[in-house]
């Protein structure tokens, strides 16, 4: 029997032997600024080898608002209207940081009750911020449902802010010396209602996401950053506490009487997305505890504003009767007040980490310079260290886990 040799044209063989034109070549992909999971307008320049990220360069500045410069134009008291617009998810915290800094510079003592109101509201704001994180983080990873649960509950929080300050997001409720108005009559009961049902919501969240196997597989061991690296990058907030560093400004350098509250700082050691997830989930529980304690204290009456003559606007009935009080009111409202020459740094624990205000006064009615140490900016700088060598699909998980707000990054 004759066998017939199959002849394969040599040209096609050589073509088969040619190296794959796509092997070993790198591709640069722009992720953002319009990507839905970059939480705002972040652009990441990713160099990919297949699906592996070789290099990641965050490109920021798309949300640059010039807020630090704007602060130099505003009078001391009016600056709170722009601080809350930097990190819009943690607006109360930003206002608090700025007010504390100026109060430190002026040497003003804030009344007990005002401090308790501030603590209650910043902790509620932390809850609101963490709920946005929870919803969007889960959504980035593919779980749409959590988003609706988290935002429904956040809506109730924003309602509370509206009740107390008149605005849902940009409250401008804290001012230098205390808070702007006394709490409304129904606020404490509304707040108690909210806090009463909150543990149930947290429980729902845990049942929804924490035990989810897909979520765990997508987050455990992903975006790891070691303890040393985390410290060297200067990370703060839940991001560093997920790497086993017990660092919380509320405990390390207490302000507004946080040292008198009973709460725990959750710390996890693995440094991955999963650890950061657990830290934030427990933090919500701790914030809830602080809120309850603050609410208990607010049942006592007290002053909501320091009676420093520079800070407190005169009582309205007095102002309408006496010309000297009227003149004082005119000066305060039109020219504002001066702050002694000096510089001061004050940091607080925002929902994202250490937010610091470096305030310089040259003795005028406006700040000479306000510089903000923004937690999102510093945490974002460590993003390349977390994602390099990981898969492309994990990048969104890591971005979600450091919980950046672009308004905070760019300012």
């Amino acid at each position: 029997m004759q066998t017939k040799e199959i002849v394969v044209p040599t040209s096609s063989i050589s073509m088969l032997r040619k190296p794959d034109p796509l092997a070993d070549t790198q591709m640069t992909v722009s992720m953002g600024p319009q990507h839905p999971s970059t939480h705002g307008v972040l652009r990441l320049e990713l160099v990919l080898d297949g699906e592996t990220v070789i290099k990641a360069v965050p490109d920021i500045g798309y949300l640059h608002t010039g807020i630090e410069k704007t602060m130099e134009k505003e009078k001391w008291q009016q600056v709170v209207t722009v601080t809350c617009r930097m990190d819009y998810l943690n607006s109360m915290g930003n206002d608090l940081g700025y007010c504390l800094a100026v109060e430190k510079l002026m040497g003003v003592e804030v009344p007990r009750r005002a401090q308790d109101i501030r603590v209650l509201l910043t902790e509620l704001n932390r809850l609101a911020s963490h709920q946005v994180w929870f919803g969007t983080h889960a959504m980035d990873i593919g779980g749409m449902t959590a988003f609706f649960y988290a935002f429904t509950e956040r809506e109730r929080l924003l309602d509370l802010f509206e009740c107390v300050s008149g605005a849902r997001l940009h409250q401008s409720y804290f001012i230098i010396g205390g808070v702007r108005w006394e709490l409304p009559d129904n606020f404490l009961s509304l707040c108690a209602d909210f806090l009463g049902t909150y543990p149930k919501f947290l429980d729902e969240c845990r049942r929804l996401i924490t035990g989810n196997r897909i979520f765990q597989r997508r987050t455990k061991g992903v975006g790891r950053i070691s303890r040393e690296e985390a410290i060297n990058w200067g990370l703060s907030g839940p991001t560093i506490r997920g790497s086993g560093v017990n660092w919380d400004i509320r405990k390390a350098e207490p302000y507004s009487g946080y040292d008198t509250y009973d709460f725990r700082v959750p710390v996890y050691d693995d440094g991955d997305v999963w650890s950061r997830y657990l830290v934030r989930m427990e933090e919500m529980e701790e914030s809830w505890k602080i809120c309850n304690q603050a609410l208990e204290r607010l049942k006592e009456p007290g002053e909501f504003m320091s009676d420093h003559p520079k800070l407190k606007l005169p009582a309205r009935d007095l102002m309408k009767e006496h010309i000297d009080v009227m003149i004082h009111h005119f000066l305060l409202a039109s020219e504002g007040f001066t702050v002694p020459i000096g510089e001061v740094y004050q940091s607080i624990e925002s929902a994202r980490g250490e937010i610091g205000f470096y305030v310089v006064s040259d003795g005028a009615e406006r700040p000479y310079r306000v510089r903000v140490r923004a937690p999102s900016f510093v945490n974002l700088a460590a993003l390349p260290a977390m994602v390099e060598g990981q898969l492309l699909a994990d990048v969104v998980a890591v971005i979600g886990s450091i919980d950046i707000v672009l308004g905070d990054v760019d300012r």
Partner: protein, 141 residues
Amino acid sequence: MTIYRRFRGEHFLDVNEDGKEKCVSCFLCAAACPADAIYIEGAEDARSYEERHSMDHRYAKIYQIDYGRCILCGFCVDACPTDAINHGHNFEWAVYTPGEMVKDKEYLLANKWREPDVTPNENQRHLAAKQKMGKLNIILK
């Protein structure tokens, strides 16, 4: 829809019990405004109390708030010595051109009529009818 009483919405200019404008054009609100949203031109009115526009001899000839700039912070309300400017509860502002965001004195005076728990005077009702305004469909809590 229910809205909290403290909600800081579109402003209204108030009048006193005789229907005289409370605003005496003192410029304090404009000075306290962090966003430079308020534009006022003051004028003197030497006529008697019955005939003139405002409670005092001074009144605002032009009073405009540019809602393209306003950030609804409420500092103008805190600053006003005569309680003339107040926050209402309207927040529906969609317009077609930026110029329409600038609201003038007539509009702001009529705005009080839209508030749910307010019984307005004749002039406000007249102004509101002229602007084709309707009552706000909200409940305050």
